[in-house]
């Protein structure tokens, strides 16, 4: 079995030990395997960035540890030369030019490779802007330079904390492709946090959802979202449809005011022919029927919402593991 790229064991962070101690990260365990795109999600203040900072040896764990490529960065910080990171937005020396900032980062991380830096500038679309001082850069440009800086030392693990912050829609789409390329074309492991859950859903293999310092749920995205399916149906008459179907399926009328003849039904995709047949037999006009799958966003809101968290394993979706 390959050494995990990241492995945390009871990782805990308490701020302000003396007065009003605040538990920011509470004994979290997770593993990121080589080549994975791992989404690390949670609302603001959930402990995501603190966890990343402990992995990068920027903050010290109050308890437990985070291993990177099987090594403890506190004892062997050089292991972090294999990690490229962009944490909570790209930050640079504003008085230096983009190019000089890359030089500083490169030299701080084992040596500056000019050819690679030029390649990366091309890759992030900043050729021509590298001679401009960073204080004149837009947020999106800084973010692109941050990506270039994170990849300077050709890392095996790339940690991206909100990488699409400040990017326009086309930049976000490029970033999505870029994250996929990193993993599937270049074989990098990507550890990703983002508020754009649709992006995470489209790019990640596995996710952990953190809330109040704890991992609430962790698993493969397809397993987490592969729950009891629903179908959305649009008909000519809701009442007639209900009569025809409710004997066998649970019918949930739409709550959208302008869609009186649209409803959801708890059924799988394989039930579609029988549902249509039954409706047609009962003279109900069918305008459309399509499977509805829960999005990561819905799932995220469900597990991080104000409602009690699903701590009972039987209440969790298939494939999800509860975390203590």
């Amino acid at each position: 079995m390959a050494t995990p790229v990241i492995e945390t064991e009871g990782l805990t962070k308490v701020f302000g030990r003396l007065r009003n101690p605040k538990l920011a990260v509470d004994h979290i365990h997770f593993r990121v395997e080589p080549g994975q795109v791992y989404g690390f999600l949670g609302p603001n203040g959930a402990g995501k960035s603190t966890t990343i900072r402990m992995i990068l040896n920027l903050m010290y764990a109050s308890e437990g540890k985070a291993l990177v490529f099987g090594e403890d960065p506190r004892k062997k910080p050089e292991v972090l030369y294999r990690v490229g990171s962009l944490v909570e937005g790209a930050t640079f020396y504003p008085y230096l030019r983009g190019w000089d900032n890359l030089k500083v980062v490169g030299n701080s991380r084992g040596g500056f490779d000019e050819a690679r830096a030029k390649q990366l500038l091309q890759f992030v679309g900043l050729v021509g802007s590298e001679r401009v001082r960073v204080k004149a850069y837009s947020t999106g440009m800084k973010q692109r330079l941050g990506i270039a800086a994170a990849l300077l030392n050709n890392p095996d693990l790339v940690i991206l904390d909100e990488p699409t912050n400040g990017m326009d829609p086309s930049g976000i789409r490029e970033m999505r492709q870029f994250i996929r390329d990193l993993a599937y074309k270049y074989g990098k492991t990507v550890f990703l946090t983002s508020h754009l859950l649709s992006e995470v859903q489209q790019t990640s293999d596995r996710v952990a959802i953190v809330n109040k310092g704890k991992i609430v749920v962790e698993g493969r995205i397809d397993e987490l979202l592969n729950q009891e399916e629903e179908l959305e149906v649009e008909v000519g008459s809701l009442e007639k449809a209900k009569t025809a179907l409710q004997e066998r399926w649970l019918v949930i009328p739409s709550t959208v005011p302008n869609e009186p003849n649209r409803f959801r039904i708890k059924a799988t995709r394989n039930d579609t022919p029988s549902i249509v047949r039954r409706l047609v037999d009962q003279n109900v006009d069918v305008f459309g029927i399509a499977p509805v799958r829960q999005s990561l966003e819905d799932y995220f809101l469900e597990v991080t919402g104000d409602a009690p968290l699903p701590l009972d394993p039987s209440s969790l979706p298939v494939g999800a593991k509860p975390h203590a």
Binding site: L56, Y60, Y95, S108
Partner: protein
């Protein structure tokens, strides 16, 4: 370590406004002083005659430059430079990019080294400017430029230069340590510079008044002597011992003075404490 030094050097030299106002100001002022002096000599025949009769000594000029760096007002510029170098990393939130992969000790030691190298190079440049500049002025007005350059005068000059440079370097390191510590704790350039400058001013000018006041109130004269423990007094005392083989005169008449070795020990203690404390604070700190 060399790569880290390169990175620190780039950070320091790249901030032209900072280095221009706090470090390059010394060679710039040196050039200004030379120009002003030349204008005065050109304008006033009396001054010109005095200059020819009593020409400056190139070795005194060279060694004297280190005294400028040790002067409390000059020190404020260097402290501002040091505080900005350290606090800048917090204000610009750049430690998260440069710290992973490095040992914190290496990083902060490299920062001290780069800062020191920068200051030393600047003052060596100032020495060259002033020594060569005064040589040209002497040549222009037909004055001598003693002492004659021989093996022994150069050797003596280099010895004095190194001694004075070491003392200035030691005292600068203490105040850079204070600036680093304050910057690491306040994490802001403005607060770092303000607090460091305030502490330096108190140490250089205000402390003796406070101690004298407390001594007067408590009728315990010995309290005034606590001034003998300050970096300013001890660096000045060591310079006095090195240059004149006598202790620096006490601030208040009749009070005690310290020997060369006592001052060396106290200065050494300050260096280790201030640099050590800043390293310790940085080692233990969570980077936000």
């Amino acid at each position: 370590m060399l790569d880290l030094f390169r990175a620190e050097w780039k950070k320091a030299t790249g901030n032209r406004l900072l280095v221009g106002c706090t470090v390059w100001i010394f060679p710039i002022l040196g050039c200004g002083a030379l120009s002003l002096f030349t204008i005065i000599l050109l304008a006033s025949s009396g001054s010109r005659q005095d200059f020819i009769n009593e020409p400056p000594r190139w070795d005194d000029i060279g060694v004297g430059v280190w005294g400028i760096a040790n002067f409390p007002i000059s020190r404020l510029f260097l402290i501002s430079f040091a505080a900005t170098l350290f606090a800048g990393e917090y204000q610009y939130q750049t430690l998260k990019s440069v710290l992973p992969g490095n040992r914190r000790l290496e990083l902060i030691v490299t920062k001290f080294m780069a800062m020191t190298a920068f200051i030393v190079i600047t003052f060596v440049a100032t020495i060259f400017i002033l020594v060569i500049g005064f040589g040209l002025i002497c040549l222009l007005f037909g004055a001598d430029y003693p002492p004659a350059v021989t093996g022994s005068t150069v050797a003596e000059f280099l010895k004095d230069l190194l001694l004075n440079a070491s003392i200035t370097f030691a005292s600068t390191l203490i105040f850079a340590g204070i600036a680093a510590l304050v910057s690491i704790l306040t994490r802001s350039i403005l607060f770092g510079v303000m607090a460091s400058v305030f502490l330096t001013l108190i140490e250089s000018f205000g402390l003796i008044l406070v101690l004298a006041l407390i001594a007067a109130i408590t009728h315990l004269d010995v309290i005034t002597d606590l001034y003998l423990l300050t970096p300013t007094y001890n660096s000045g005392n060591i310079l006095q011992w090195v240059n004149d083989n006598s202790a620096a005169p006490p601030i208040l008449e009749g009070r005690a003075t310290l020997s060369l070795s006592e001052s060396v020990i106290i200065l050494g203690f300050w260096i280790i404490s201030m640099v050590g404390l800043s390293i310790l604070a940085f080692q233990r700190q969570d980077i936000q």
